[in-house]
Amino acid sequence: MENKITNRQAICDVLIKAAETHRDVIVACSDSRGSASLSAFAEKYPEQLVEMGIAEQNLVTVSAGLASCGKKVFAASPACFLSTRSYEQVKVDVAYSRANVTLIGISGGVSYGALGMTHHSCQDIAAFCALPDMRVYLPSDRFQTARLIEALLTDDSPAYVRVSRTASKDIYGENMDFTLNQAKLLCQGKDVLLVACGEMVAESLEAASLLREKGISAGVLDMYCVKPLDEKTLLQAAEQVKTVITVEEHSVYGGLGSMVAQTVSAACPKRIVNLALPDGHLTAGTNREIFKTYGLDAAGIACSAESALAQKTR
């Protein structure tokens, strides 16, 4: 049965549970409690909810101020605004000051596909990975999202978590093994390794099945921890294959593909193909329609993998 529970709902459930015993757990939002599925938190713990209104820059800096007084702040706002309008506030007040703030970028990537480029966040991985002391996570399903938030509740460093608007397909189960900053090798291949994050993990798993039907051995690595990139697991998996393909709901520049290419090319050079959104104005539509348009659905990924393997190395 198709999962209907969104990753943002999973975040809310974990935070409600945490707030029961930890009054320093604070949710901050920018008129975004509804769109972040945090209304239940707001109703249950109104004294632990800080509403900043439609003022994302203030949201981030005020969160850093709260954190400096011992609060564990989860600041939730659409990823498009957090990662661009509030970028300096994230750079200075959260990352540079190493504030105990977790930024929750809701409706990331092309979740708001039909709302246009203003509401896309296809540069957030690049932007936040470039900030010293900032960690960047794109969990792939609701179970991993919950484990990730539980882990972040126990530390005191800055982090950015991007989740999609729609429910992600289930990949794991309630009792999944989870280690923070450790990528998850879902299956090992001999021909090609698909390295994906966020929504692209489920698409890559389906692509691996399609490839297997054609006799191509494809592995899938869930690199939900884009920064710090789990280089050890990546290289171990990459060494086994001929070609590495990265898959992400992000600009082709500066995201997971760039990070993986840097690591793999330095340590175990392979052909690397980056599947991502093009550097241009994207077509309007649902996220699934946009994925299909740009070859980021299972069929498109499988097709690209097949072509890459067919290409001769110079």
Binding site: V50, G53, V62, A64, C69, S97
Partner: protein, 332 residues
């Protein structure tokens, strides 16, 4: 109060040494804001090396972070670190005493300095105090040129919305910024009205380089309940060094040797005068008057012009005691 004035002039002398040695810094703004910083750290705020780890310490953010040169001298004077080290290594290769506030320096709360961030940080710490039922206060110092940053108005709006009466913003209105007169670059007139429009209580200090006027204003706003407070302090850029006063070119000007010598001479003369005057006065503070004093629940402007001198400030303990007494008398 006389002690504060004397101390502020001694700190001016330190600032001149610091910026001259380094060939860096923002001396004009340092000299306009130094009286505000001196009064806050030695007459108002409950923060010192002794209580630095305490969650109940008062919080301070220098939003106009480029004037950290002045803050370093005040923090050194306060005993957070060896002031001489800051003077000798300010802006030097590998030094922690860099050109904007950073937390490697004891006494600095957050890394900052990009304009338009301090007030929102202050909203955060003031909100946290309300959540935790703590009595500490948050003080933020901004520049008038900085008030062109839109983020300030988001922070003002939130502070008013949450009635953060434990938050006090001071705007160092020296009317000059790097390109010239603030009114020409981007007019920030009507600051008081702007703060009031966002639900703040506003106090104007006619001479923001007068420690007595500043102290009176800070003591009064500490009693104010229900709204955050803004102190609009009218200062002179470069105050205390004749050739720097009211000159935009001294925003971050670098002194030539003869200018350094003149600055030192003027400041030392002034220090001697203050010492003499203090002796003559026999340490007795002279009480002055507030020219205007509105009801506490009236957001209308208060203006401080003369020396109130009702508090013999000068130590962390006395400031804390004063606060306790004031809060007790207001049934807090």
């Amino acid at each position: 109060m006389d002690d504060l004035t004397k101390r502020a002039y001694a700190l001016r002398r330190d600032i001149i040494e610091e910026v001259y040695r380094s060939g860096a810094g923002h001396v004009g703004g340092d000299l306009s804001v130094i009286d505000i910083l001196t009064v806050l750290y030695f007459g108002v705020m409950n923060v010192s090396p002794k209580n630095w780890e305490s969650p109940d310490r008062d919080r301070f953010f220098l939003s106009k972070g480029h004037c950290v040169d002045a803050l370093y001298m005040v923090l050194g004077e306060k005993g957070f670190f060896d002031k001489q080290e800051a003077i000798e290594t300010f802006s030097a290769y590998g030094s922690k005493f860099i050109g904007h506030p950073n937390r490697e320096v004891p006494g600095i709360e957050m890394n900052s300095g990009s304009l338009g961030h301090g007030l929102a940080l202050g909203v955060g710490t003031a909100l946290a105090a309300k959540m935790d039922g703590r009595a500490y206060r948050t003080y933020v110092v901004l520049g008038d040129g900085e008030m062109a940053e839109g983020s300030n108005y988001e922070a003002m709006m939130a502070a008013g919305h949450y009635h953060l009466d434990n938050l006090c913003a001071t705007v160092d209105v020296n009317r000059l910024q790097i390109s010239g007169k603030t009114e020409d670059v981007m007019c920030s007139d009507s600051l008081a009205q702007k703060f009031r429009a966002f639900g703040w209580h506003v106090t104007e200090v006619e001479d923001g380089n007068d420690c007595g006027q500043l102290l009176a204003a800070y003591e009064a706003v500490a009693l104010y309940r229900g709204k955050p407070t803004a102190i609009i302090a009218h200062t002179v850029k470069g105050k205390g060094v004749s050739f720097m006063e009211d000159q935009a070119s001294w925003h971050h000007g670098v002194m030539k040797p003869e200018q350094y010598a003149q600055a030192v001479e003027e400041l030392e003369e002034r220090a001697q005068m203050l010492t003499g005057a203090q002796k003559a006065a026999g340490q007795q503070a002279t009480a002055g008057e507030k020219t205007t004093d509105t009801e506490a629940d009236n957001p209308g402007a208060e203006t401080y012009t003369n020396v109130p001198g009702k508090t013999t400030a000068g130590s962390r303990e006395s400031a804390a005691d004063n606060r306790k007494a004031m809060e007790a008398s207001h049934g807090k």
